[in-house]
């Protein structure tokens, strides 16, 4: 047999690399802006397109799907070709994948500031973009499996198991979480409502972390770390155990995002139990990585790339230890909805994803440009300022989280809340927020230095677009064969491996999602809960557009500190018409689940115009454009119709007269405001939003007996 000659495609790797750096800088800059907005609301630059509620999703989407996403594709396209001894299956598909993905990101950058959002966290993009994501993801899958099929290596290395699991699980997650009913070109309603929608969202949200931020990175770690350190992987057996255990257990852990909500108790407990079991499988990856460095620790002292890897792996270990701890309900009761969670995710994002990405970039760019890194000193500077940035970010956020979490729960001996004004707790932690933005700024500075360093590296070298390689073709599998373990057999059967991974992740998915989605007794109905009026529905869509749920939750947990502060705890039956649910995940401001009737219309009007008029010191931005913009009532009929399709009991034909009811309610509110000397035209957006806010949580007040 003759060895075959072929070429690795380095150009596509380079392209994804450039995209990683550019989007990384953009995403982190937006992050820095939103961080500053949290203590200086004026940083919204006085217009709706750059206000916190709209660009916080832009930050998360940009860093997750643009920065990390492109880094994944860079790492996968580089390592996959080499691990399989084959060029990518199709250059055309690679191109489509690259440009398609960038187009999706650009569309996110345009639509999110415009307020076009589904409000599902980390899945905010509207339905046409969801479809585009699905198509591009399939392109990626075909390209990957095509390469696997034409491989010159019999068995699949552990990195590729992780890539396969990533591909198949993200596909399932994305599709299930994108069941939306389009209302117009860029507006849709989630098919699920209330508790069900929340469960689907957090099953998705948690596993987006698992299968977008964790498994592909573990795969990349398994390829790049042994390459960088020139050491063998510590334990093949550990790889097998932690891979299967990780993907099986991870999928169950989603409900820990919904502890103390109206999610059925059994689902919450399953979430907690599996989160605890997730500790060891997560650490398996860290241990296998760190022990791979055994005998190479002397190199870590001199090699900045390995330093990045070690800190990255350690950050991964810390975040995956903290995760299970935070899922314990006693800890969760304090940490949930506070900055603690922000600190937790950023240890993972800045430490694990960021540092691994930087290490890979520093290692890979000089190699595909056949040159040396332009400046080791700059890379070293990047490492130290990045590490410092993470510390400056995380420590104040932990501090802020503890402080606020505990303040909100404190009572005086007289039995009333020590800090009844939520704002007081917010103002207490503002210095910590300032510190956090300094940390973020340092980290971003490091990335900019890296960009310059890599740029100079590329300029001094020359891209080897097609890198020659040589390998023997695959011989026919000998049937006589020697003893092989079952896993070894599976490693040469990619399709079976994909199906196995799919089955493993579907177990938890079905057991947790199905009963909640199908058994009606899990969500007791409440007779007093009625569908929103047309005006309230429009107001709700404005609430979604402005991204209010980024800072305000809508679920009162059954704690004394919350029922005293906000009112009766939330019931599952209250949310049955909420397509989508709007519980939120962070309380930068107070909960709004029982906001209705708490203040007068005039209070809301003034507060939305300038929050500091009613709450001196508030960090909420002004929403003055709501005072001038007209409500688009042309969409009312389509919205009512869509809601009825989803099972909301609007009478047949109601959509035709809905706008009459809408005008009537507008007039009521405008007249009421007029009594308080506020002159506002009936058809302004603020009227609709006030209508919605005044409705929140009031159904149950109307009929308390039905709630029991």
């Amino acid at each position: 047999m003759q060895p075959e000659n072929f070429y690795y495609d380095n150009k596509i790797v380079r392209n994804f690399g450039i995209a990683t750096v550019i989007w990384g800088i953009i995403g982190m800059t937006v992050g820095l802006i939103v961080a500053i907005q949290l203590y200086s609301p004026g940083m919204n630059m006085g217009n709706q397109y750059t206000t916190f509620g709209r660009i916080r999703p832009l930050h998360t989407n940009a860093v997750i799907f643009a920065f990390v996403g492109n880094a994944i594709f860079m790492g996968v396209y580089y390592s996959l070709q080499r691990l399989l001894k084959a060029r990518m299956f199709s250059d055309a598909l690679s191109q489509i994948h690259f440009w398609g993905w960038q187009l999706i990101i650009v569309s996110a950058v345009i639509t999110l500031p415009l307020g076009l959002t589904t409000s599902h966290e980390y899945a905010e993009l509207e339905w046409p973009i969801d479809i585009a994501i699905t198509l591009i993801w399939v392109v990626f899958g075909i390209n990957m499996f095509g390469t696997i099929f034409k491989r010159r290596e019999r068995h699949l290395y552990v990195a590729i198991w992780f890539y396969i699991a990533t591909f198949v699980t993200i596909a399932v997650l994305h599709i299930v979480n994108s069941f939306e009913l389009p209302v117009s070109a860029f507006k849709s309603y989630m098919v699920y409502a209330g508790v069900q929608d929340a469960l689907v969202q957090w099953w998705y949200g948690h596993n987006a972390v698992a299968f977008f931020l964790t498994t592909p990175y573990l795969g990349m770690m398994y390829y790049f770390l042994p390459k960088m350190a020139n050491r063998p992987i510590y334990s093949y057996k550990l790889s097998i155990l932690h891979f299967w255990a990780l993907i099986f257990i991870y999928i169950w852990a989603g409900p820990h995002h919904l502890l103390y909500t109206t999610l059925p108790g059994w689902a919450q407990s399953l979430g907690v139990a599996f989160s605890i079991m997730l500790l060891a499988p997560s650490w398996g990856g860290m241990i296998n990585g760190l022990l791979t460095l055994r005998g190479a620790w002397d190199k870590v002292r001199d090699d900045v790339i390995l330093k990045f890897m070690v800190v990255g792996l350690t950050a991964y270990g810390m975040a995956t230890f903290e995760g299970p701890m935070l899922s314990l309900k006693q800890v969760n009761a304090i940490g949930h909805f506070t900055d603690w969670i922000i600190a937790h995710v950023h240890v993972g994002a800045l430490g694990w994803n960021g540092f691994l990405t930087f290490a890979i970039l520093y290692w890979l760019i000089p190699r595909i440009y056949k040159t040396q890194l332009y400046s080791k000193k700059m890379a070293s500077f990047h490492f130290w300022i990045g590490t410092l940035g993470i510390l400056f970010y995380a420590v104040p956020m932990y501090w802020a989280g503890f402080t606020q979490g505990l303040m909100l729960k404190e009572f005086t001996p007289e039995g009333i809340l020590k800090y009844p004004a939520f704002l007081e707790t917010t103002m207490r932690i503002l210095p910590m927020h300032v510190m956090r933005s300094v940390g973020g700024g340092l980290y971003l500075l490091g990335v900019i230095v890296m960009a310059y360093n890599l740029c100079r590296t590329a300029l001094q070298g020359k891209l080897v677009a097609n890198e020659p390689a040589q390998a023997m073709p695959l011989p026919a599998l000998s049937t006589t064969g020697h003893e092989e373990t079952w896993h070894r057999v599976l490693e040469r059967r990619p399709i079976q491996m994909m199906i196995a991974a799919l089955l493993v992740i579907l177990v938890g998915t079905f057991i947790e999602l199905m009963p909640t989605l199908t058994i009606s007794s899990n969500i007791p109905t409440i007779a007093a809960v009625k569908p929103y009026t047309p005006l309230e529905l429009q107001g709700r869509d404005l609430y979604i557009r402005e991204g209010c749920s980024n800072c305000h939750s809508q679920t009162v947990r059954p704690f004394r500190s919350e029922t005293e502060r906000y009112g009766e705890y939330s019931k599952a039956g209250e949310f049955v018409y909420d397509h989508p649910f709007l519980w939120g995940s962070k309380r930068t401001g107070p909960d709004l689940a029982r906001e209705g009737g708490k203040y007068g219309n005039a209070w809301h009007y003034n507060h939305l115009m300038d929050p500091r008029l009613m709450s001196p010191g508030s960090i909420m931005p002004n929403y003055d454009w709501l005072l001038t913009q007209n409500l688009d009532t042309a969409t009312t009929a389509a919205k009512i119709k869509a809601m009825r399709t989803l099972g909301v009991p609007y009478p047949e034909g109601y959509e035709k007269i809905a706008n009459n009811d809408l005008s009537k309610q507008e007039k009521e509110i405008a007249d009421n405001l007029y009594n308080d000397h506020i002159k506002v035209k009936n058809n302004k957006e603020i009227v609709a939003l006030i209508a919605y806010l005044q409705r929140l949580g009031t159904d149950i007040k109307a009929s308390k007996t039905a709630a029991k």
Partner: protein, 302 residues
């Protein structure tokens, strides 16, 4: 022996300390605590000093005894220096703890295969890792059993009931002791400066956004004129603040202010009557006869 007794005594004294602080002590509690901490630290420092002295004494004693037995100076020095234990290299302990095989045996562990030059070792899964995994699995099973099979653990709604019941008991107990337990029927109109100052502080913090910094009325009504929407008696004002008036957008403050605070701010508001602030909101509600009479009185007095 003597020192051990002292130590035991010290340890025993720590929990005794608060009990010794009599309730009717003239020294405030905080100061008492600080004195207590200082005392404990001083005692601990003394203890360390005592131990050092003891150690020194023992050394001297050994030297004297050895000299008496006819040892030379060099021999004594040699005797005093403890024999160096043959320490295992640190890595070995580390390796055992992590159940790692020595690096020298690595060659035997290499699996005869490589992927783009990457080799894998056939190391066993570290024992401590497996135990960690087993423990978490046992915890998880135990968790489900406790909360859903045996019903020992409380789920969230039962937890809530317990929390509220406990809070209720604690609150009742506290309020039964507290003298300032007022409600809308027992509240009294007073003009005591301390009460008004406390009421003003509450007003500044909670009422200004809606009623204006001089109670002249903004979104909420003017509180300084003769007109009241919900009654102008101190009892009525107290009631309005406590329960709110939902239809008019007045929040209820029952859960945010203590009864004393509500009483103080109600008195403060009453004290503002007739202060004629700038830019007053137009009168709302009914004219209060008492107010007019009261105003008349004040004017007459002046």
């Amino acid at each position: 022996m003597k020192y051990r007794r002292l130590l035991i005594l010290l340890v025993l004294m720590i929990p005794l300390h608060p009990a010794m602080a009599a309730d009717d002590s003239l020294i405030p509690g905080d100061l008492m605590n600080e004195i207590g901490y200082g005392a404990i630290i001083a005692m601990l420092a003394l203890f360390i000093v005592a131990m050092l002295v003891l150690l020194r004494a023992l050394r001297v004693l050994t030297k004297i005894t050895l000299r008496a037995q006819g040892y030379t100076e060099e021999q004594i020095i040699a005797e005093m220096k403890p024999a160096k234990k043959v320490k295992k290299p640190k890595t070995e302990v580390w390796n055992k703890l992590l159940s790692l095989r020595p690096m020298s045996e690595e060659k035997e562990l290499i699996i005869a295969h490589d992927y783009d030059g990457i080799q894998e070792l056939n190391n066993p899964i570290p024992g401590w890792f497996s135990y960690l995994f087993y423990i978490t699995i046992i915890f998880a099973i135990g968790y489900i059993l406790i909360y859903h099979v045996f019903g020992v653990g409380q789920l969230q709604y039962d937890e809530y009931k317990t929390e509220m019941a406990q809070a209720d008991i604690a609150k009742k107990e506290y309020l039964s002791k507290a003298a300032n337990r007022v409600d809308e029927t027992t509240v009294k109109l007073v003009t005591d400066q301390a009460v008004l100052a406390s009421g003003q502080a509450v007003f500044k913090q909670s009422c200004v956004p809606c009623h204006g910094d001089h109670a002249q009325g903004v979104v909420g009504p003017n509180l300084t004129d003769d007109y009241w929407l919900h009654g102008g008696k101190i009892n009525d004002v107290f009631k309005t603040i406590k329960y709110g008036v939902q239809a008019k957008g007045m929040p209820n403050w029952e859960k945010q202010l203590s009864p004393k605070q509500i009483s103080d701010v109600a008195n403060y508001i009453k004290s503002l009557h007739g202060s004629n602030p700038a830019n007053p909101k137009e009168p709302q509600g009914e004219k209060d006869a008492d107010d007019v009479a009261a105003k008349g009185k004040t004017i007459a007095k002046i």
